[in-house]
C-alpha cells in the first residue's frame, strides 16, 4: 500500500490465531483457530471505515487487535506512522488516549459499582488530567456533549436505559480527546429507534471533533448510513474493501453480492422484485478453514482454481480492493440473475 500522510491507522498482515490446547499440565497444541488471517487495511484520517461480516468472521478480533487488547500473532499496525508492535507497555500506555473503544454490550462495559461520574472520569484520573475540580468539569462537559443531563452524574449504570448507557460509553471513550475510536457493534444491542439516535450522535461527534472510526457492525443498512468505506470480512479475511457507494451498488465479490442482496428495501414495490442470493450451509470452522479461497465452499460460482489457490487481495479498480479469482475471468464474478429469486423461497 502506498504511504499516505492522510492515513491514520495502517494495518499490515494482521493475524490472530488462538491455540486450541488439551491437558493442563503438559498441555499440547492440537490446533489453531484462525480468527483473523492476514488482514491489511488502512484507515484514513477523519473517515469511517465500516467492517461487516457474519458472526465469528473476526470483525471484533480485528478491532481489538488494532488496539492491542488481543496480542496478535503477527502483524504491523502503524498509528500515525508509529509501529505499535515495537512499543513497550509504558509507551503503549502513553498512546492509549489517542485510540479508544466503544463496546457492544453497554451493560457489561460499565462497572456496576461505579457512578457515571466515576466511569467517565476514570480515564482522566489515570492520565493525570488536572485536579479533581477540572476532572469534574470535564465530565460535565462530556455528558452534555453526548446528550446526558449533568444532574445524573451520581447515578449508577443500572438506572439508565440502553441508549443512555451507550452514551455513557461514548462519553468515556471521548474523555481523552482520541483521534481514533473502534466502535465494536455499538448499536447492535439497541432498539431500532435508539440505534438511529446513537448513530447520528456518533456522526455528529465525528464532524465536531474530527474523529476517525472503525465501525464494526452486521447491520448493512446502518453501515451504509455511517461509513465512508466498507470492508467485508469472511472467515478472518477481508473479501472486499471499497467506497460505500461502489460496494453496495456494484459489489464485485460474490459474497458481498449475496450480503447486499439480503438487505430489505423499505419499499414494497421494489422489495417484491428484490433478487436474493441465498448461500448454502454455514461458514466453515475457522479452526479448519478451506483451502484456496476460504469462500469456495459456499460460492455459487466457484471453479477449480478457487479450491487450489488463495486469491490475492488487490486493487481492481481505483480504491476498490477485492479478493476473488473470478473478477479476472470472462464470466466475471457476478452471480447470474436467474440463480435464486426471492419469490422462489417461500
Amino acid at each position: 500500500m502506498v504511504a499516505d500522510s492522510n492515513i491514520l491507522v495502517r494495518v499490515e498482515n494482521l493475524k490472530k490465531y488462538f491455540p486450541i490446547t488439551r491437558g493442563w499440565l503438559f498441555s499440547r497444541q492440537v490446533g489453531t483457530v484462525k480468527a483473523v488471517d492476514d488482514v491489511s487495511l488502512d484507515i484514513r484520517q477523519g473517515e469511517t471505515l465500516g467492517v461487516v461480516g457474519e458472526s465469528g468472521c473476526g470483525k471484533s478480533t480485528t478491532g481489538r487487535a488494532i488496539l492491542q487488547l488481543h496480542k496478535p500473532t503477527s502483524w504491523h499496525v502503524f498509528f500515525e506512522d508509529v509501529d505499535l508492535t515495537t512499543l513497550n507497555a509504558a509507551e503503549l500506555r502513553a498512546l492509549r488516549p489517542k485510540m479508544q473503544m466503544i463496546f457492544q454490550d453497554s451493560v457489561a462495559a460499565l462497572n456496576p459499582r461505579h457512578s457515571v461520574g466515576k466511569i467517565i472520569g476514570e480515564p482522566l484520573v489515570i492520565h493525570n488530567v488536572g485536579t479533581a475540580r477540572e476532572v469534574h468539569e470535564r465530565v460535565i462537559e462530556l455528558m452534555e456533549m453526548v446528550g446526558l443531563k449533568p444532574a445524573w452524574i451520581k447515578r449508577f449504570p443500572h438506572e439508565f436505559s440502553g441508549g443512555q448507557r451507550q452514551r455513557i460509553n461514548i462519553a468515556r471513550a471521548l474523555a481523552l480527546n482520541p483521534n481514533f475510536i473502534v466502535c465494536d457493534e455499538p448499536i447492535s444491542a439497541l432498539d431500532v429507534s435508539i440505534q438511529a439516535q446513537v448513530v447520528n450522535l456518533l456522526k455528529e461527534l465525528q464532524k465536531q471533533l474530527g474523529l476517525t472510526y472503525l465501525f464494526i457492525a452486521h447491520d448493512l443498512s446502518m453501515v451504509r448510513h455511517i461509513s465512508d468505506r466498507v470492508a467485508v470480512m469472511y472467515l478472518g479475511k477481508v473479501m472486499e474493501l471499497a467506497n460505500r457507494n461502489d460496494l453496495f451498488r456494484d459489489p464485485l465479490h460474490p459474497y458481498t453480492q449475496s450480503l447486499s442482496s439480503a438487505v430489505p428495501v423499505p419499499m414494497p414495490k421494489h422489495e417484491r422484485r428484490r433478487r436474493r442470493f441465498i448461500l448454502k450451509g454455514d461458514p466453515p470452522s475457522p479452526s479448519n478453514p478451506p483451502s484456496g479461497c476460504v469462500f469456495h465452499t459456499r460460492c455459487p460460482l466457484s471453479v477449480e482454481m478457487c479450491v487450489t489457490t488463495v486469491p490475492e487481495f488487490r486493487e481492481l479498480r481505483p480504491d476498490h480492493f477485492v479478493a476473488c479469482h473470478l473478477t479476472d475471468t470472462e464470466t466475471g464474478s457476478k452471480i447470474p440473475e436467474q440463480t435464486v429469486l426471492a419469490s422462489e423461497l417461500t
Binding site: 499440565l25 479508544q100 463496546f103 456496576p112 451520581k154 449508577f156
Partner: protein, 345 residues
C-alpha cells in the same frame, strides 16, 4: 424523570434519593426479618463477649468482692457445695449468701450463666480471626490467581487442592501432642517455649487459630478466583485496559468491588463452620485449656454428667445452636440482598 421534576421545587436539580448498589442491598437486607433478627442477635453476642466482665452472674448480683477475694474469675469460680445446682437454686456457700444460679451450676459448682457468657468470647474470637484471615488471604489469593490465569492460576489452585486434601484435624492433633510432649520432657527450645507461651496466654486457642487459619481461606480463594474469572471477561475491564489502566488498579478498582459481595456472603455462611470446628475440637479435648470456658468444652463436661444433671447441657447447646443459626440466616439474607437476579432495578 418528568414526573420527578414536576413534583420537586422549581430548582434546576431534582431532589432524589441517592441509590448506590450497596445502599440498595442494605435496604433489601433490612426488609428480611430473619436477617434483621440475626443482626440484632449477633450484635448482642459481640456486646456480651466484650462486656462479659459486667454481665456475669457474680457481678450482676453484687458478688464481685467475693470474686476479688478468692481471685477467681467468674467463669472459674468453684463452689463445691453447689455442684450440679438446678436452675434458680440458691447458693449454699456462706460466702455467696443469696446468690442465685440462674441457669444452674456444673459438676464443679461453677455458674453456668457466667461460663456460657464467657464462652461467647471464644466463639466470637474464632469467628473474627478465621473470618478475617479467610477474607484477606482468600480474596487476595483468588484475585491474583484468577487475574493472572494460565499456568500461574493452575499452579496456585493446585496448592489449594493440596491443602484441601490434607487432614488438618490430624495435623493439629499431632502439633499439640508434639509441643506438649516437648514441654513435658523439658527440652523445649526458644521457639517451642514461645509458641506454648502464646497458646497459654490465649487459653489454648492458638492451635485452633492455626488450624482454622490454614483451613478457612481455601474455599474463599476458590470462590474469589471464580468470581474474578467471570468479572475479568466483562467489557468494562477491557475498557479500563484500553484506557491504559495498570493491572493493580484494575484488580482493586474494577474487579474487587464486584467480587466483594459474593465473598462476604460466602464468609458469613462459613462462620458457623468455624464456630462448630472450635466446639468440636474443644469437645474432643483438643481445644481450649481447662478453666477457659468454650461451648464445646462445656457440652463435653455436661455430657459426662448427663444422667445426674441434664440441665447443664442446655445453656451451651442452645447458645451454640442459636449462634450458628443466626449466622446462617444472616448469610442467606445477605445473599438474597446482593443477588442481582432478585433485586428490582
Amino acid at each position: 424523570m418528568a414526573v420527578v421534576e414536576q413534583a420537586s421545587k422549581p430548582s434546576t436539580v431534582p431532589q432524589r434519593r441517592e441509590r448506590t448498589p450497596l445502599g440498595d442491598a442494605i435496604q433489601q437486607l433490612l426488609k428480611n426479618k430473619l436477617a434483621v433478627g440475626s443482626i440484632i442477635f449477633i450484635t448482642g453476642l459481640i456486646l456480651s463477649a466484650i462486656l462479659a466482665g459486667f454481665l456475669n452472674g457474680y457481678f450482676l448480683q453484687g458478688f464481685q468482692a467475693e470474686l476479688d477475694r478468692t481471685s477467681q474469675p467468674a467463669y472459674a469460680k468453684q463452689t463445691l457445695q453447689d455442684n450440679n445446682a438446678r436452675p434458680g437454686e440458691k447458693s449454699e456457700n456462706p460466702n455467696l449468701q443469696g446468690f442465685v444460679y440462674w441457669l444452674g451450676a456444673d459438676n464443679l459448682g461453677r455458674d453456668l450463666w457466667s461460663r456460657t457468657l464467657y464462652g461467647t468470647r471464644v466463639s466470637i474470637a474464632v469467628a473474627l480471626v478465621a473470618g478475617t484471615v479467610s477474607l484477606i488471604i482468600g480474596i487476595a489469593y483468588g484475585l491474583i490467581s484468577g487475574y493472572m490465569g494460565g499456568r500461574v492460576d493452575d499452579l496456585m489452585m493446585r496448592v489449594v487442592d493440596f491443602l484441601y486434601g490434607m487432614p488438618l484435624l490430624i495435623v493439629v492433633i499431632l502439633m499439640q501432642v508434639y509441643f506438649k510432649s516437648l514441654q513435658r520432657r523439658g527440652d523445649e527450645s526458644g521457639l517451642v517455649n514461645f509458641i506454648l507461651d502464646i497458646d497459654k496466654s490465649m487459653g489454648g486457642m492458638f492451635f485452633i487459630f492455626v488450624v482454622l487459619g490454614a483451613l478457612s481461606w481455601l474455599s474463599m480463594a476458590r470462590i474469589a478466583r471464580g468470581q474474578t474469572l467471570s468479572i475479568k471477561q466483562k467489557e468494562f475491564v477491557e475498557a479500563a485496559r484500553a484506557t491504559g489502566v495498570k493491572p493493580p488498579r484494575i484488580i482493586f478498582r474494577q474487579i474487587l468491588p464486584n467480587i466483594l459481595g459474593p465473598c462476604i456472603v460466602q464468609e458469613t455462611l462459613q462462620i458457623p463452620g468455624y464456630i462448630l470446628t472450635e466446639a468440636f475440637l474443644s469437645f474432643i479435648g483438643l481445644g481450649v485449656n481447662a478453666p477457659t470456658p468454650s461451648w464445646g468444652i462445656m457440652i463435653n463436661e455436661a455430657f459426662q454428667g448427663l444422667r445426674s444433671s441434664p440441665h447443664a447441657l442446655v445453656p451451651p447447646a442452645v447458645a451454640l445452636t442459636l449462634t450458628v443459626l443466626a449466622f446462617n440466616f444472616l448469610g442467606d439474607g445477605l445473599r438474597d440482598a446482593f443477588d442481582p437476579r432478585l433485586r428490582r432495578t
